[in-house]
């Protein structure tokens, strides 16, 4: 299996990349880590006429932390989430989820921005970003804009990105309170497989130990990460790996596990 022919550009700056996108629009695909795009190109499920490779845009690969907020460039590799102490300190949920994203080889190459822009419903990072209330920074030749993680994801493999836009980076706020905790749990057939169902939670307590902030996100069950607002039936899909009924049942248990872990950590904080 080999990809269909395409023209290749490797811009050095975000501006050059945006110019290429403005010029080629729908015809172009952005290439980051390539761990989702290239398999789809090899199988010819996608056949872009133009590939704009972002790997040489150094400005997109930066990570910085200031005042507890973590700024992740879109090209930061997924394995940086497991290896970089700033992530463990500012956003421990991301550090905990990272080893479950694909495999060693795909995390070495795969990027944070690529996973988010691809928006696979079973992917860990989109769910974590919603639970953490992250802000996504989008850029196009028309100008920059910001978008909450919750508004970014629009369902199966679809996002708020316009054809001429790129996801430049993500800003993850610090813990919502001094006494806060996170929890993550997922069920997959084998380590590194896409989750059949997963859940992540962030809880914060006030000084009296009363829960004042709670976010629970379920992923893998339906067409995208789902921010749970009330006890309601979970929208679940069926495929060859699991039935919708199985996913609904597992989601309830997995959600409870994520919440319990978050509560235990918040209480211990």
């Amino acid at each position: 299996m080999r990809p269909a022919p395409f023209e290749y550009f490797a811009p050095r700056t975000v501006e050059e990349a945006l110019d290429l996108l403005a010029r080629h629009g729908d015809e172009a695909k952005l290439l980051a880590g390539g761990q989702s795009l290239v398999p789809m190109m090899n199988m010819r499920l996608v056949r872009p006429a133009v590939v704009v490779d972002l790997n040489r845009v150094a400005a997109l690969g930066a990570m910085r932390e200031d005042g507890g907020r973590l700024h992740l460039g879109a090209l930061v590799r997924q394995h940086a989430l497991e290896r970089d102490g700033r992530v463990a300190a500012a956003a421990p949920l991301l550090a905990e989820a990272a080893p479950l994203i694909g495999h060693l080889q795909t995390r070495a190459r795969g990027t944070i921005g690529g996973s988010l822009a691809h928006a696979d419903p079973a992917a860990e990072l989109p769910a974590c970003m919603i639970a953490l209330d992250a802000v996504f920074h989008l850029r196009s030749a028309r100008g920059p804009r910001a978008c909450s993680a919750r508004d970014f994801f629009r369902g199966l493999l679809s996002t708020a990105l316009e054809p001429d836009e790129l996801l430049a980076g993500v800003e993850v706020p610090g813990a919502p309170a001094a006494r806060a905790g996170h929890g993550f749990a997922e069920v997959a057939r084998r380590h590194g497989d896409f989750a059949l169902v997963g859940a992540c939670a962030v809880l914060a307590l006030d000084a009296a130990g009363v829960c004042r902030h709670a976010r629970l996100v379920i992923f893998g069950a339906g067409d995208g990460p789902h921010l749970v607002r009330a006890a309601a039936a979970i929208d679940a899909r069926a495929d060859l790996h699991a039935t919708a009924e199985y996913r609904r049942r597992v989601a309830a248990g997995i959600a409870a596990r994520a919440l319990q872990r978050a509560a235990a950590r918040a209480e211990a904080a």
């Binding site: 990809p3 022919p5 395409f6 761990q35 290239v38 398999p39 490779d53 070495a108």
Partner: protein, 169 residues
Amino acid sequence: MTPRPGSTVHDVAVTVNGAERRARVIPRLLLADLLREEWGLTGTHLGCEHGACGACTVLVDGEPTRSCLVFAVQVDGCRVDTVEGLAGPGPGLHPLQEAFRSRHALQCGFCTPGILMTLVAYLRLHPSPSETEIREALSGNLCRCTGYQHIVQAALDAAAAGREAVPAP
């Protein structure tokens, strides 16, 4: 006449197993095909060709990478290490290869190069892994012969031998 789309060629220079190599490639050429077809480095095997089996794993700038998911044009200026370079110029095997031989950690051998390259990179960062950690590190490499038991044993042996050769500070 306008050229056919996708026929624009790019020049790449890559340090492969320590030696510089050059090639002129079209954009859709995969790194795995550059290694195998252009440069004759057929130790890198292609199984699934969509990033599921791990047989084509090589090191790109030291990181284990599926060479079926990277275009040759992308590795211009990079260092690529393949199984051919593992043992070095001498007659002996790499300690990991030695462990695979003594533990019978391969049968047909198709998946072996990808597993070796994955483990070389992993053991460099994790010199004292547990059995569970090795199994997790190898979760992206499929072997249909061995049942993995001997592979994991060989990796544990190689890790122990590595710690002996280079005592922890």
